[in-house]
């Protein structure tokens, strides 16, 4: 396995050389919120605009052909990157939209009338109502919780969840009571965006399959950090966002098993997702077009494909190994500071991407401010995972999160900056 050459790689990220707060070098430890983007990704988008820009799928002219090739080529690249088939890849605006798309497939299939698609037996798996159950976990990002709460509200189904242990792992002790024959969907994160825990996807997917429930994996924090293979994971749907994996804003991906996508009614209605349109009703195209209404985020899809290429070239094994080293260094550094309490697993093998912690007696927002004053960018608050914080009995936390460009020196700068906290706030060390 080739090692990741961080210093060379960093040259692709001009923003990492800038300074903040009166000339301090930027130490960017907020990649869990959004990653920085390499020049190659920005160039790919720009080249699309400057050389091939036209609406895809619609024009009968050369630019339109070139644009369509670039867009559909991006779909193939992204599919390859995560072990899926191109027709299983749907470009959305974000992971958030991807998850909502699946949630709305359930309520849309459950409303009356003609769905405008050839229904299959699988269509019934999306029909949900009172008595049915939707299962999530306490560890979810709001993006994989709120859509399911709203689906429950819209349909009268009820919401249940798996708990989180004090150690920040999923509590599977009562899995058999929570996931039952009444469960229609099981939605969970591959990797927690707060505590970094890597969840046992196979075990959960197998359990869901055994009761006939559809699985929806939030892969936002795994795809940027680990080699991910949709087929191997054994889930039905998987969502992730480009901007967390060196790609642009405005594009996310829903990967779905072909036979389920085919059975699902559309989400957004509009151009390019139709088969025939009459005034009083329409019929809809096959996936993936059925779920890509309107002129798509074509330049962004091209940018995402460039990000996949970039990561493939670095090698996802190398990315994962590098992430483990950084995580280990952070965990070691924090362990040496007894006034800091790390949330989640203390074993670096069980986690990836980010480390969240609290300083008892100092609010995370204040910790983050001191770090910011030293040029270290972290995130503070509940990180869109409020229930997880409640489960761990902390109001909020400070999170340092990493990318392939994170260096050991940056970890040291982060730890040094942290050491300013006790004296400012009078914490005993």
């Amino acid at each position: 396995m080739p090692d990741l050459d961080v210093e060379t790689l960093r040259q692709d990220f001009p923003i990492l050389s800038r300074t903040v707060r009166d000339g301090r070098p930027l130490v960017y430890l907020d990649s869990g919120a959004t990653s920085q983007k390499p020049t190659q990704v920005l160039d790919a988008e720009r080249d699309f605009y400057e050389q091939h820009n036209a609406a895809v799928h619609r024009g009968a002219h050369q630019l339109a052909e070139e644009a369509t090739d670039a867009f559909e080529g991006a779909r193939v690249t992204v599919a390859d990157f995560v072990g899926a088939r191109p027709d299983e890849v749907i470009f959305t605006k974000s992971a958030t939209e991807a998850i909502n798309l699946v949630a709305y497939a359930f309520s849309n299939a459950s409303a009356g009338g003609d769905l405008g698609i050839p229904e299959t037996p699988a269509t019934d798996r999306f029909r949900i109502g009172p008595g049915d159950q939707i299962v999530v976990t306490q560890m979810e990002h709001h993006a994989n919780l709120v859509p399911w709460q709203e689906l429950a509200r819209r349909t009268g189904a009820s919401l249940r969840w798996l708990d989180v242990t004090d150690g920040g792992e999923l509590d599977l002790g009562n899995l058999d009571e929570v996931v039952t024959e009444r469960t229609k969907v099981l939605a969970f994160a591959h990797v927690s965006n707060v505590v970094g825990t890597i969840n046992p996807v196979r075990e959960l997917a197998d359990k869901a399959r055994s009761v006939g429930a559809i699985t929806v994996l939030d892969a936002c924090q795994s795809v940027p950090h680990l080699p991910v293979d949709f087929d191997e994971l054994g889930v039905d749907f998987m969502a992730f966002s480009a901007h967390k994996m060196l790609g642009p804003y405005g594009v996310g991906v829903l990967v779905g098993r072909a036979e389920l996508l085919a059975a699902m009614p559309p989400f957004l209605g509009g151009g390019s997702m139709i088969e025939t349109v009459l005034m009083d009703h329409s019929t809809y195209a096959a996936p993936p077009q059925r779920f890509e209404a309107g002129i798509p985020n074509q330049s962004q899809a091209v940018g995402l494909a460039a990000a996949c290429d970039y990561l493939s070239q670095v090698g996802m094994d190398a990315v994962a190994a590098h992430d483990r080293e950084i995580t280990q260094a952070v965990l070691d550094g924090l362990a040496a500071r007894p006034w800091i309490r790390v949330l989640g697993p203390l074993d670096a093998e069980k986690r990836t991407g980010s480390v969240a912690f609290v300083v008892d007696g100092v609010h995370p927002h204040d910790v983050g401010q001191v770090l910011d004053d030293s040029g270290v960018a972290v995130r503070t608050g509940h990180h869109c995972a409020w229930p997880l914080h409640r489960a761990l009995r902390v109001p909020a936390s400070t999170r340092a999160s990493f990318g392939p460009y994170t260096t050991a020196d940056e970890v040291q700068a982060f730890l040094d900056a942290l050491d300013r906290v006790p004296s400012i706030f009078g914490v005993a060390v």
């Binding site: 799928h57 619609r58 024009g59 009968a60 052909e65 369509t68 090739d69 088969e275 195209a285």
Partner: protein, 157 residues
């Protein structure tokens, strides 16, 4: 323009075997959403399996010159042949159409369809040319032909 060969223009202006006829075993309706081409197509077979004979293909095509000419050539090339032979012709046409200009097509196998070689350079038009053919294979399937099996038979010849 090498796209609009005389043969294509002729077929599009005077489509062969056009119109919907009785009797038939299956009918399909296919649409090219990009440009609104539509074709309704019927097949009438004699016999079973790969060796069944295509007694008639009748159709109603609305659309661009490429899709109408393609329907016309299809009918010419297919009527009177076995299902397996027709699928072999389709394979050859498809490989030409999707070759981006690499495969000029073999007149021995695909007849007048060689006139469509220029289409392969225009991805948006490939769909137009393929439309009647996908309607045809779909109709065969609905008439009970096992397409995979039938094309394997002929290829194995």
């Amino acid at each position: 323009m090498d796209l609009y060969q005389e043969l294509i223009l002729d077929h599009s202006k005077r489509p062969q075997h056009a119109g919907l006829r009785e009797p038939y075993d299956a009918q399909t309706h296919h649409v090219n959403t990009t440009c609104g081409d539509e074709v309704t197509l019927r097949v009438h077979l004699a016999g079973d399996g790969p060796d069944a004979r295509v007694e008639d293909v009748s159709y109603d095509a609305v659309g661009c010159s490429i899709s109408i000419a393609s329907a016309s050539v299809l009918a010419e090339e297919v009527i009177g042949h076995t299902v397996a032979e027709s699928l072999h012709t389709f394979d050859a046409i498809r490989s030409m159409l999707t070759s981006k200009g690499e495969d000029p097509g073999d007149e021995e196998i695909i007849g007048d369809a060689v006139a469509f070689a220029g289409v392969s350079k225009y991805p948006a038009r490939v769909k137009c040319a393929l439309l009647p053919w996908t309607a045809y294979t779909d109709a065969l399937a609905r008439a009970g032909v096992d397409i995979a099996d039938a094309s394997a038979t002929k290829s194995g010849v």
